[in-house]
Symmetry: C3
Subunit: 140 residues, 3 copies
């Protein structure tokens, strides 16, 4: 019998960078009792992203952030939207270059993440923010 | 009882830039009568994207387009694929850098979009095009 | 009556570049007997992506790869994570700039892909790899 489970989780980021959320996401899927299905995550903000990335070497997260900071420079003079400071528009662009939603199948009671894959909220603003992630699981 | 609703919407873009489609997408979800579920959008083209972005300050859309036009220059000499002009291959790359599909959970009869989030078709070609977006909603 | 079908497909890439997987993906959907639903693909690796792109002119795939190789240079000195060579961290960044998952609605027994859209695994490492893609289909 197919059914659904939904929740919203809030995460306090510590400013720009990747925050791993694999553990609470896996716990939500496991506690639902759904053995096979589809988990969808959606971040309800325009300057944060959801990312599946390597969860072993922390240098990967640092390199990701350094690369994106160079690719989308804070305070770039081509930006007109500066209401909230020089990292405001770069946050929107970094979100557009990545994604605000993730779909991960569940099989045999587990997310089908690979061995080295973790789930992350990527904070694109310099300041810490509380970020809400909606979770939806459908299966049986 | 879980069920599905599907449709295809066509949007006439006005050339390169973001076209908001939040209203018809929200209307489709509401008219389905499905209170909890998962909405998926899929654009059936290779030089247009779907994007969730800020719907308040229009400068955000202009800045997004200006940034991407600089990142992926029209007529870049490294491109061999030029069948349809200098903005053809940049359209494909801009689509690869963003995405052709979006999944948005529905809870309490509403898309879980944040306060400042709107749904957009991003036209990457300079000329106006008719773009088809397939919508699929599953829930109960 | 809604139901699910799941599988994992393995693809042998030939090093960096796009490998079309449309045919086995379409076959999985067709063989499921599900006429209307949602297909989700998820690649279980951190240096490969899933992409919907033009399936006509092979120059598009070459241009995509050339563009990304210039955007994310192998051996870039800002990278600290170099455990597996100069194309290791670029693989992670290229995966972050694209995506590890795709959702494609199924309608009238067919994926809603546009005329020119194919489904690809994008190998970001220089060496050939075996890449696992989890498929999940839910519908009726």
């Amino acid at each position: 019998m197919l059914r659904q489970a939904c929740t919203t989780l809030a995460f306090d980021t510590r400013g720009r960078g990747l925050l791993e959320i694999t553990r609470p996401v896996v716990a939500f899927a496991r506690d639902s009792g759904i053995g096979e299905g589809l988990l969808t995550l959606f971040v309800r903000h325009t300057s944060a992203s959801l990312l599946v990335q390597e969860n072993a070497d922390p240098d990967v997260r640092g390199d990701l952030d350094r690369f994106f900071a160079r690719l989308v420079p804070d305070g770039d003079p081509i930006f007109r939207h500066r209401d909230e400071g020089p990292d405001d528009m770069p946050g929107h662009i970094r979100a557009a270059l990545t994604q605000v939603q993730l779909a991960i199948p569940v099989a045999a009671g587990r997310l089908v993440l690979g061995t080295w894959q973790g789930v992350y909220v990527w904070e694109h603003r310099r300041r810490a923010h509380r970020r809400e992630v909606a979770l939806h699981l459908l299966g049986g």
